[in-house]
Amino acid sequence: MILEFIKQPLPWYVAGILIGLTVPTLLLIGNKTFGISSSLRHVCAACMPAKIPFFSYNWKDELWNLFFVIGVLLGGLIGTHFLTDSGPIEIASETKAQLSALGVKDFSGLMPLDIFGVDQIFSLTGLIFMVFGGFLIGFGSRYAGGCTSGHAIMGLSNLQWPSLVATISFMVGGFISTWILLPYIFKLIA
């Protein structure tokens, strides 16, 4: 009974509250400002600083951030394998219809495997959705000085108007990508 309850998907307000509580938790257990994309910068500083000033700092002082993201990875593993029923994900019918029309075939899991499967890594699909998409995330988040966590959640929680500007820009970029770029991309890989 209890296990069945635990395995159900979380409603949005529970997820929202728990994610929001990350902000005071990190502040109070160690004066840490919530932000995930900074971990990518620390990896650069640790592995390939190449004398670039932007990566020339003592990344070991920010080790907490790397522990945090490794935790997120482990949480993904634990949540998937022990706490979730592997059933098909419910998708809004309108979105499903539009994505089918674009050419998405796999609606069985959290990610469509005809786009994000391992066998797509060396295809044009993988090049666009993983390599190109990933590059935009890394480049854009650092250029913007943060991502959804640092700006949309931490920045807005601290009532920083530049973070509102960034958050609006994230959303505008996403709408452009979804409505203008994606139809073109799907035609390209069809």
């Binding site: 990566f55 997120v72 990933g134 854009g140 820009s169």
Partner: protein
């Protein structure tokens, strides 16, 4: 000697956007508490299906309130927490004053923000969910993560010639 000093002050990279403001030095083992917070965070990501490419598509197609509800609630809870911490001057468990870092406006928040948004809708993930997707078993996303690290590196390399 003087020249070196000048060089370093001039080229101090902008501060980390998610900085560690703790004065007290932490040992490697004390970092495990952040690992645990990360694990809880990752579980929530999976349990609420936030790591799903479909959820992000629903959001940008305005077909579902779900992600708006998640982010909206998170901001409200975060804002109330920050307000309480400031109002009552609540200290960290080490007894230090909580430090908040104001964000300065620059054009990067618009240009970089737009670029990030383009990638967000394509990959269906921001940096946090990327890690959770890999943990969830979508191993191809390691490629996305490596490419995001490469994107960060290229930004760092060329940041002086980008409009700010």
């Amino acid at each position: 000697m003087e020249k070196v000093a000048e060089f370093t002050t001039k080229d101090i990279p902008t501060a980390c956007s998610a900085p560690n403001a703790l004065v007290k030095k932490e040992s490697i083992t004390s970092n495990f508490k952040y690992l645990i917070v990360g694990i809880v965070f990752g579980i929530v990501f999976v349990k609420a299906e936030i790591i799903s490419w479909f959820r992000i598509q629903e959001m940008f197609r305005l077909d579902s309130f779900f992600m708006y509800g998640v982010i909206g609630t998170a901001v409200v809870v975060g804002a109330i927490s920050v307000f309480i911490i400031k109002k009552f001057n609540i200290k960290t468990i080490q007894g230090e004053t909580v430090i908040f870092h104001p964000k300065k406006f620059n054009k990067g928040q618009i240009i970089g923000g737009l670029i990030f948004g383009l990638g967000w809708a394509i990959t269906g993930a921001c940096p946090g969910p990327l890690f959770a997707q890999i943990g969830s078993g979508f191993l191809a996303i390691i490629v996305t993560l490596l490419s995001a690290i490469a994107g960060t590196w290229v930004y760092g390399k060329f940041r002086d010639s980008l409009p700010l």
